[in-house]
C-alpha cells in the first residue's frame, strides 16, 4: 500500500492509460454489438427481421421465437441431464486431472517422461467415429448416462495446464513435507492442491462449459434414448428443424414454417449463453491477484 505513494508518474503511463481506455472501449463495442444484436433479433418478429434491419432494440417485440424454441418438451429431461453431467462431470474430471497432473509433475516420479508422452499423444490421435463407438459399445457405455462423464474425464490438455501451474510451486514445500514424513497423497491434498485454486478454477470452468455445451455424445451414443437427452441436443434439433440446412428434397416439401431460421437461431443462442454466464462469477474470485504462493517462495 505504501509503495503507491512512492510510485513516480511516468509520461509513458499517461499514454498507456489513454491507450488502455481506447482499447477497452473498442473491444467492448466490437464484442458486444453482435451479441446485443442477437438479443434484439431473438425478441423480434421473425418475418419483420427479414424486412427491417435490427440494431440494438427489437422493432416488433415478440416472445414467439422462444416459444418456438421450447415448443417441444424434452427440454425438461434435457435440463436435468445437462445439470447432472455438468456438476458430476466437472467434479470427476477436475479430480482426475488434478491427480494426473500431480503425478506427472513430481520430479521423482519414475515414469515421468514416458507417462507424459503417453498423454500428449492422446491429444493428436483418434481412432475415428466408428471404432470409438464400438469400444464404447463393448464397455456398455452406449445408451448410458456415464458416457457423458467417463470418456472425457482425463484430458491431456487440462492436465498440462494444471501441471504447468504445479511446476511453478517451489520444490522446497514438497521436500520439507517429506522430511516431516508426509506421503505423496498427503502432499497432494494438503499442500499442492490448496495452492492450485486458481488453476483448478480455470479447469473447472473449462470442463463445466464443455459439459454444458456438449451434445454430440448424446446424439452419437444415446440417440435412441429419449430419457438421456441433453439440453443442447434438444436445442440443436430445434435449430436444425428450423434451418433445414441440409438434407432431402422431400423433407422440405412436407412442412411449412412460420418462424425464420434467423430468429429461432437467435433465441436458441440466448438460451445457451445465459445459464453458463452465471457460473463464472462464482469462480472469478479465484482469479483475483494476490492469492499467491509468494509467501513461501525463497
Amino acid at each position: 500500500m505504501k509503495t503507491k505513494m512512492k510510485r513516480q508518474i511516468h509520461a509513458g503511463d499517461v499514454i498507456f492509460e489513454i491507450f488502455l481506455i481506447l482499447f477497452l472501449v473498442i473491444f467492448v463495442f466490437v464484442t458486444l454489438y453482435p451479441l446485443i444484436n442477437t438479443l434484439a433479433i431473438s425478441f423480434n418478429d421473425g418475418f419483420d427481421t427479414v424486412t427491417h434491419r435490427i440494431h440494438f432494440i427489437p422493432h416488433q417485440f415478440t416472445t414467439d421465437n422462444y416459444k418456438a424454441v421450447f415448443a417441444k418438451e424434452g427440454y425438461r429431461i434435457g435440463a436435468v441431464n445437462t445439470v447432472a453431467r455438468t456438476v458430476f462431470g466437472t467434479l470427476i474430471s477436475l479430480a482426475v486431472n488434478a491427480v494426473l497432473a500431480f503425478v506427472i509433475s513430481r520430479k521423482r516420479f519414475l515414469f515421468k517422461k514416458s507417462f507424459s508422452l503417453f498423454w500428449v499423444i492422446t491429444m493428436y490421435v483418434n481412432g475415428g467415429l466408428i471404432p470409438t463407438f464400438i469400444v464404447f459399445q463393448k464397455l456398455h457405455l452406449t445408451n448410458n448416462f456415464l458416457v457423458y462423464i467417463i470418456p472425457g474425464a482425463a484430458s491431456a490438455f487440462n492436465m498440462l495446464v494444471i501441471r504447468n501451474y504445479m511446476n511453478g510451486i517451489p520444490d522446497s514445500l514438497e521436500e520439507s513435507a517429506q522430511i516431516d514424513g508426509a506421503g505423496y497423497f498427503k502432499i497432494f491434498y494438503s499442500i499442492i492442491s490448496p495452492l492450485c485454486k486458481p488453476v483448478y478454477a480455470t479447469i473447472a470452468l473449462f470442463v463445466a462449459v464443455y459439459q454444458w455445451n456438449s451434445w454430440f455424445d448424446a446424439m452419437l451414443y444415446n440417440k435412441m434414448k429419449d430419457n438421456l437427452t441433453v439440453l443442447q441436443y434438444e436445442l440443436m434439433k430445434q435449430l436444425e428443424t428450423a434451418m433445414k440446412s441440409a438434407g432431402s428434397v422431400e423433407g422440405l416439401k412436407n412442412s411449412g414454417t412460420s418462424i425464420t431460421p434467423t430468429s429461432i437461431r437467435a433465441a436458441a443462442t440466448i438460451c445457451t449463453m445465459v445459464p453458463i454466464l452465471f457460473i463464472y462469477p462464482f469462480l472469478q474470485r479465484y482469479f483475483v491477484t494476490g492469492l499467491t504462493i509468494g509467501g513461501v517462495k525463497e
Binding site: 488502455l20 473491444f27 494426473l100 517422461k113 481412432g127 471404432p131 498440462l160 504447468n164 462449459v209 435449430l239
Partner: protein, 317 residues
C-alpha cells in the same frame, strides 16, 4: 529456476537399486498412474486400432479383421487427388495464421486487462470478453456474414465514413478469406483463451512488482519485464500444444462461409474428407486423411518439444 534443480535430479548413479528404493517411496504415484494408464489405453489408444481401416476397404457391416486389405491404396487415392493438396495448403495457412493471432491477442488481452485497476471495469470487460465463446460456430458464421454483408455494419462504416463508393463483397474476394477466418477466431476466442493467462498471472509474486515500483519502473516496463516473462512457461506449454493443432483449423467457418467463387482458398481438409470420404461411404479414406493429420501433428509437436528442450523451456514431455 526449475531447470537447475532438474539437473541435480538427473544424476542417477546406481540405476536399479535406486529404482526400487524410489518405487517404495511413491506408492500413491505408482498406483494412480497405473490406473490412469489403464484408463488412457482403453479410452484413447484402443480406438486407434481403427487406424487399420485406412489400409482396408472398410465396410461397417463386417468386423475389423474381416475386411478386404488394400495396402496403401487409400493413401494413394488421397495423394492423387488435386483437391487434397489444395485443401492441405489452405488448412495449413489458416492454421498458422490462427495460431499466431491466437497467441498475440490472448496474451495481449490478458496483459492489458491485468493493468485495469478499477475492479468493476475489469470484471465487466472480462465477463464480456468471454461471452462470444459460448456462441456455437453456426451462429458465429451467421453473425460474420451479417456484419460483412453488402448492407452490413462494416460496409455501412466504410461507405459513410471512409467514403467507399460501393459495398465490398467480402466473400467474393480470395484475398480476404483467410483474414476473415482469423479475425472471427480472434473475436470468438480471445477472451476465453486469456483466462489461462489471467490465472497464471495470479501466481506471480507481488513482491516482484513492489520491488519494481521501488526502482521506479513504469507500468509498461513492469508488464514487459515482470508479467510477460512470468507467463513464459504457460505460453510455451500452450504453444507446444497448439502447434500440433494447426491442421485443425476449424470446420464450420470454412464450410459455411466458403463458396464456389473462392473455393480455391476456402476448402479445408475436413471439408475434403467430408466430400470424398464420409459422404461417399468411404470411411477408409477419411481415416487415411486422419492418420495423415495425426502424423503431421506429432512431428510438429516433437520438433517443438525438442527445440524447447534445447532452449531450456517448459516442455510437454
Amino acid at each position: 529456476m526449475a531447470t537447475n534443480s532438474v539437473n541435480i535430479e538427473e544424476l542417477k548413479p546406481h540405476k536399479k537399486v535406486k529404482f526400487w528404493a524410489e518405487a517404495k517411496r511413491q506408492p500413491f504415484l505408482l498406483i494412480s498412474s497405473a490406473l490412469l494408464l489403464l484408463y488412457g489405453i482403453i479410452f484413447y489408444y484402443l480406438p486407434v486400432v481403427g487406424w487399420l481401416t485406412a489400409f482396408q476397404d472398410y465396410k461397417p457391416a463386417k468386423g475389423l479383421l474381416d475386411q478386404q486389405w488394400v495396402g496403401f491404396d487409400k493413401f494413394v487415392k488421397l495423394f492423387e487427388n488435386e483437391t487434397f493438396f489444395l485443401a492441405f495448403r489452405n488448412t495449413l495457412c489458416m492454421g498458422v495464421i490462427n495460431l499466431v493471432f491466437h497467441f498475440i491477442t490472448a496474451i495481449g488481452f490478458a496483459l492489458l486487462l491485468n493493468e485495469v485497476r478499477i475492479f468493476i471495469v475489469k470484471k465487466f470487460v472480462q465477463t464480456i470478453s468471454y461471452m462470444p465463446h459460448f456462441l456455437s460456430w453456426i451462429i458465429v458464421t451467421a453473425i460474420v456474414r451479417d456484419v460483412l454483408s453488402a448492407d452490413g455494419i462494416v460496409n455501412e462504416f466504410l461507405m459513410k465514413i471512409c467514403g467507399n463508393p460501393q459495398a465490398i463483397d467480402f466473400f467474393a474476394e480470395k484475398a480476404y478469406f483467410w483474414w476473415i477466418v482469423a479475425f472471427t477466431n480472434v473475436w470468438k476466442e480471445t477472451g476465453w483463451n486469456a483466462i489461462i493467462y489471467l490465472a497464471a498471472i495470479t501466481a506471480i509474486d507481488p513482491c516482484l512488482y513492489e520491488a519494481a515500483d521501488m526502482d521506479g519502473a513504469s507500468r509498461f516496463q513492469k508488464m514487459r519485464y515482470i508479467t510477460l516473462p512470468s507467463l513464459r512457461p504457460t505460453i510455451m506449454i500452450l504453444l507446444l500444444i497448439n502447434i500440433g493443432n494447426v491442421l485443425n483449423a476449424g470446420f464450420e467457418l470454412q464450410y459455411i462461409l466458403g463458396n464456389d467463387v473462392i473455393s480455391d482458398v476456402s476448402k479445408i481438409l475436413d471439408v475434403f474428407i467430408l466430400d470424398w470420404g464420409i459422404s461417399q461411404f468411404d470411411f477408409s479414406l477419411g481415416t487415411a486423411a486422419g492418420i495423415f493429420k495425426s502424423v503431421i501433428a506429432l512431428i510438429l509437436v516433437c520438433t517443438g518439444n525438442f527445440i524447447a528442450k534445447k532452449t531450456g523451456d517448459e516442455r510437454l514431455f
